[in-house]
């Protein structure tokens, strides 16, 4: 193992090339650019021997990944915000075509107006595409999750694309140490990619032609089954990687100091990391509160959240808004609990548009919730 100190984007690029994709197709967008620039450097140094296609749009980036994956290659791309939204059609396509593309998305605000800072509305609005979605909270986790993403995507019972999300600037452009294993450890963990099906002149199959309702219905059900398999596999893969690398960041949730907790905070991404400091401080002042950092939202950690709801009242912080309803995690947590738990669920919107969310803000939100004052979702920190 070698400790490197670098930005989240560059550590993601390092992980991606160590997974040895045959094809990377990408288009630059702030704040993802330093990730694809790092891959271009690996091409120049010969460290990356795959094909790097500099496409003319994100739509084409995903389309090229779809073509390369369908032809039997391991593929990787990265994007952010408007780039992810331009890909939207092809996100559905990759998932429905059951192609295990791996992608990093740097969570960035959606315009107008133009704003390059963090919130998670870009990837949250892609929840229904069939992609598995991880959210990272440190550069080490970015490295380990990108490697795990390939393992999960290509597993014969999953064969779905995986999106690894990291927050703009707070992770993408912040240097932190990450422990990088020997190449052979990654090679042994992932193995070479053996596609379950591919475009093959020896076996001329037509992929994606017109399909009637009965077969299409089965295709959708098979995707749901694959996500259900992924839900079981994520803990296995996390633990398998822990044995090899020593690093573990949780299963679908990362539970932090939840023993005996009467309140449990659920948060994601960089707020998830900041939440640990808030929990430490709140516990020091006698509050029985723990943290469940949500690492994966698709597949959604239903059973894990039910278990939390049976133990404690829940506090949810969303760095996104499903406009016209509420924060996505707040909705989904309540959905998971329906008929299973009587726990109170307190919801906060925070940090939209890149507004800073410090551990002190998180302490304030938790304190407010623990006083029982937040029946409905509160927009935290909005100037009246």
């Amino acid at each position: 193992m070698t400790i490197i100190i670098d930005t989240g984007n560059r550590i993601a690029a390092k992980a991606a090339i160590m997974a040895k994709p045959a094809v990377v197709a990408a288009y630059p967008i702030t704040p993802q650019t330093t990730l694809v620039e790092a891959i271009a450097e690996y091409v120049a140094t010969g460290e990356f021997k795959g094909d790097y296609i500099c496409v003319e749009s994100e739509h084409s980036a995903m389309s090229a990944c779809i073509g390369a994956s369908a032809a039997g290659s391991r593929t990787f791309t990265a994007t952010s915000s408007h780039g992810l939204l331009l890909m939207h059609e092809m996100l559905h396509w990759a998932a429905l075509a059951r192609l295990p593309v791996v992608m990093c998305n740097i969570n960035r605000v959606v315009g107008p107006g133009w704003n390059i800072w963090v919130d998670e509305n870009d990837s949250i609005s892609q929840r229904d595409t069939g992609w598995i979605q991880f959210y990272c909270s440190s550069n080490q986790e970015i490295f380990d999750t990108v490697i795990q993403a390939f393992k999960l995507a290509e597993h014969e019972k999953v064969v779905l694309p995986v999106m690894v999300n990291l927050n703009a600037f707070i992770l993408s452009h912040t240097s932190m140490p990450a422990d990088v294993p020997e190449q052979r450890i990654v090679d042994d963990f992932l193995g070479s990619y053996v596609p379950k099906w591919k475009l093959d002149i020896e076996n001329p199959i037509t992929f994606g032609n017109i399909i009637g309702p009965d077969y299409y219905y089965k295709v959708r059900k098979a995707m749901q089954d694959a996500q259900d398999h992924a839900r079981k596999l994520i803990p296995q893969i996390s633990r398998e990687w822990k044995k090899l690398s020593g690093y573990y960041h949780g299963d679908l949730l990362e539970l932090y100091k939840c023993e005996g907790a009467e309140y449990i905070l659920l948060s994601m991404g960089a707020i998830g990391a900041e939440s640990k400091i808030a929990i430490d401080n709140l516990q020091k002042t006698g509050h029985k509160i723990g943290l469940a950092r949500v690492r994966v939202i698709r597949p959604f950690p239903i059973e894990e959240i039910i278990a939390l709801g049976k133990q404690a009242d829940l506090i949810v912080i969303d760095r996104n808004i499903s406009v016209g309803l509420e924060g996505a995690l707040f909705s989904e947590v309540k959905t998971a609990l329906y008929g299973e738990s009587e726990a109170d669920v307190h919801g906060f919107i925070a940090g939209l548009g890149g507004k800073d969310v410090t551990y002190k803000d998180i302490e304030t939100m938790c304190t407010k919730a623990m006083k029982g004052k937040t029946k409905h979702q509160i927009w935290y920190g909005v100037e009246e």
Binding site: A22, V23, A25, G50, D51, I53, C54, V55, E56, S57, H59, S60, A61, S63, A64, C65, I66, G67, A68, S69, A70, A71, G72, S73, T75, E89, M90, W93, L199, D200, I201, N203, P204, I205, T206, F207, G208, N209, I210, I211, G212, Y215
Partner: protein, 303 residues
Amino acid sequence: MALKDFPIDECLLQGNAACPGCPATIGLRLVLKALGKKTILVVPACCTAVIESLYPATSFDVPVMNIAFEAAAAGASGIEASLRQQGKNDITIAAWAGDGGTYDIGIQALSGALERKTNFIYICYNNQIYSNTGIQRSGATPFAAWTTTTVSGKEEFRKEMGEIIIAHHIPYVAQTCISYPEDVYNKILKAKSIKGPKYVEILAPCPPGWRFGMEKTVEMGRLAVETGAWALWECENDVMTFNGKSKLLLEKKIERKPIEEWIKYQGRFGHLFKPQKDTVRLKQMEDHIDKIWERYRTCYLPH
């Protein structure tokens, strides 16, 4: 190669779901005879997505990847990179797209793939309309033609896609027409033999779209060439050569037939003849074609 010498193998199978008299299937037969079985087809949304037939059946004996409307060229770039990484250098990758998927929604991805020098053949079968969605105007629809979105006739002239492609300076660009099987076959064969991006556009007269009898498909293609509404040419390494009757037209060795000779058979131009002859628009059509050919002569006739 002469028609009698074409391979007898068929990669487009019988029982496909095309309309009677379909020009796309004529084109596909010829193209696949020239490309052979070591071919992967990339098909965006277009009539061919229907011609392929309903899952789990297929009418192709080569592997086919369907992809979204605007994405054929980008998908082909990915396939090409993957096969090159696998050391499979003897497989032809051919995108097969309609004029809507080429002139309009797919032009960005196509231009990108050409500029990146993707080693593939992009084939546009041009029936001058969005036929699969039920006959709407495209950038390839000619002036005055009726479509469901140009009810009184299209007000604009079609764009010159072939020359837009030439501006990419790729090794091979060609225009052909399903009515000239040897021209189609030989151009595809030549494209197959060249490394790098290649573009071949095939005029494909569509009986239900153009409103003519299904027995007239081949004749409508021939008349398009003879009236100068379409040109057969190939541009190899930026050297332009006109072919067949288009060469004779360029060199003024034959006169082009009046445009009426082509459009009078097509219901989509019926409003130019009934209730009375629309001499204004007919003249605009003739003048436009004359202007195009004068420009061709200026640009492409060897001096």
